[in-house]
Symmetry: C2
Subunit: 404 residues, 2 copies
Amino acid sequence: MSKLEGKVLVAQGGGPTAVINQSIVGVTLEARKFRQVHAVYGAIHGVRGIIEENFIDLTRETSHNLELVAGTPSSALLSTRDKPDHEYCERMFAVMRKHDIRYFFYVGGNDSSDTVRIVNEQAEAADYEFRAVHIPKTIDNDLAVNDHCPGYGSAARFITQAFMGLNLDCRALPGVLIAVVMGRHAGFLTAAASLARKYPDDGPHLIYLPEVSFSEEQFLADVERVYREYGRCVVAVSEGIVDEGQKPIAVKLADEEERDAHGNVQLSGTGALGDLLAGLVRSQLKIRRVRADTFGYLQRSFLGVVSPRDAHEAREVGEIAVQFAMWDNVDGSVVIQRPVLNYGIRYDLVPLNQVAGKTRVMPPEFISAQGNYVTPAFMEYCRPLVGSSLPEPHRLRAPLVTKD
Amino acid sequence: MSKLEGKVLVAQGGGPTAVINQSIVGVTLEARKFRQVHAVYGAIHGVRGIIEENFIDLTRETSHNLELVAGTPSSALLSTRDKPDHEYCERMFAVMRKHDIRYFFYVGGNDSSDTVRIVNEQAEAADYEFRAVHIPKTIDNDLAVNDHCPGYGSAARFITQAFMGLNLDCRALPGVLIAVVMGRHAGFLTAAASLARKYPDDGPHLIYLPEVSFSEEQFLADVERVYREYGRCVVAVSEGIVDEGQKPIAVKLADEEERDAHGNVQLSGTGALGDLLAGLVRSQLKIRRVRADTFGYLQRSFLGVVSPRDAHEAREVGEIAVQFAMWDNVDGSVVIQRPVLNYGIRYDLVPLNQVAGKTRVMPPEFISAQGNYVTPAFMEYCRPLVGSSLPEPHRLRAPLVTKD
């Protein structure tokens, strides 16, 4: 079989992560090894860069600078929220043909994998021979078939370190501290707050996830119980928590809803949900010191918090994607699976429709029976993903002085 | 002269920092070397721990655990916002006499130094011989006489790394991104965002400080100009920005003001200011993607971001405080001064009334003429404080592909 000759195109879509550049560097360095690859192009701002014909020639990038970029968070090729329709894809093909692009690697989440699926279908319909591979990436950790997704481990590490600090802060100056964590449909990232606990009275004491319908009554009862027991209460809340009717709590209060091209309502970039919950506690429980923090974009972009394991895997899914396309001449979505409990993974390629547009949420065995915390099974799942050398808080252990 | 014999008491007041425990460990380890010291006590929850007689015996803490606690952020002895009055101080003395406490070291900011001053005056009035030394600490960097304060460097480093990331995020998915930084009266912490810039178009593009009266008109004009030039705009805003009448912008909108015992209005722990400013931009400039992040308590408590220089100085001010009290038998406030431009500091002890209750703000030479940024002089001042080995963002430099 003659090898498919032409150019490679790599792009990034959706929200950035701390390690997403590892994947495009993995694609670039690996693709440059193959003789049938005439050049490696990067599309600026994802699929939009394709229709606008905005490419940079990564064949001419130094390996040294690629390594530096790999260690930098956020999409170095810049990103987009565009969701291609039929007409959009036709324009993409016109550009691809002109540049003899035969391999397309798109690094992204649910929406991006759906984009790859549509593009691939269009290519087949247009009888244009090319390989399209979706490379997983999402801090939400919500891609189907995958055990976990590149980007999640580093964001989970940030959340862990953040809650270690918030817990210490709320111990020094006690009150109720509510922190809102990213996660539209899946609570994996919020759940990582559980790894912050070291001592028995450490927070977070309560964790609310989008998978469990949120009840204001239970929330208030939970906070009151914890506050009575410990004199303080640290709460982790997913931005995507919903009521019994599946309506996001954050949306209930928003004056105006803002939706992107995928129909998603804006949940991040505002402190409204945290302020609402803090107001509830203040007014209903008469607790004086109530604070709400909304972590915002630091969760996915903070410079300096990376899970080493996450970085390695993000690099490797890029390389693996190229190898599947070059050696096996197949399309699909790269997935990460963990066949045994002790940490060890394997990569696989599955048909795009198994991943595209689907959302994986926390399985029931990861959520506590009361729906306000996670189980040890989740912590066992999550702990290796945040990587090694996690900082650890320490307490004074000196004895109390007798009062009389 | 016979040496003043008795116990040492150390406590922490006000908001935690990433390195405040270095100071109590410095006090403890240094004080344990002196023969006239019968024991080193730590008061739990600051001055409140004194009137409640809640002490732990730090003489019985292992040096090893003290070193681990020194590396942990947030007040290990726990904190308080209490501001002692005359009656409060009398109760403190009763407890101090009972325990033969003769040396009092209080680690804190403006309010805490004022507490030390009041306590010391009470001691003199009561003819109770003891030494009281204030040890500086504040992420706001606003203590009088000091060149800078322990705690500031690490918080400034967090802000720098945060804005490096936010800038990358806003470059990948362009829009207007407003981040609200702690700082009630002084803009030093917000100003540290300027160190995040590496490339000419990097954010933050605008910095608003409490020292400059905030005009909504100028803010909107600034954001529009930057957005037109770069297609995006990253803004750093102090939580304490005020209007021409010195009224905090955050307070203008708060339904109810919450004040602590020092008369301070709550500015942190809510996303209201960021959401207000984002709403302004969205409605007045018709820019679609506008986001607001409020950093909250992560700025002072995040586990894992410490300026090595800040940690060393925070340790040393604790040791220095003990040395002044033991060798020189004097009261006062330890200050850090920087006599030359190249980094090199000296410690001194000044009378408490030079520091207590006073607030240092950004000097005019640190603020740009337009009042919406900082000067190179500020960056030269701040850069050594955030410490070495700061992470650095990197960009792809591959050439653009010709369109035809």
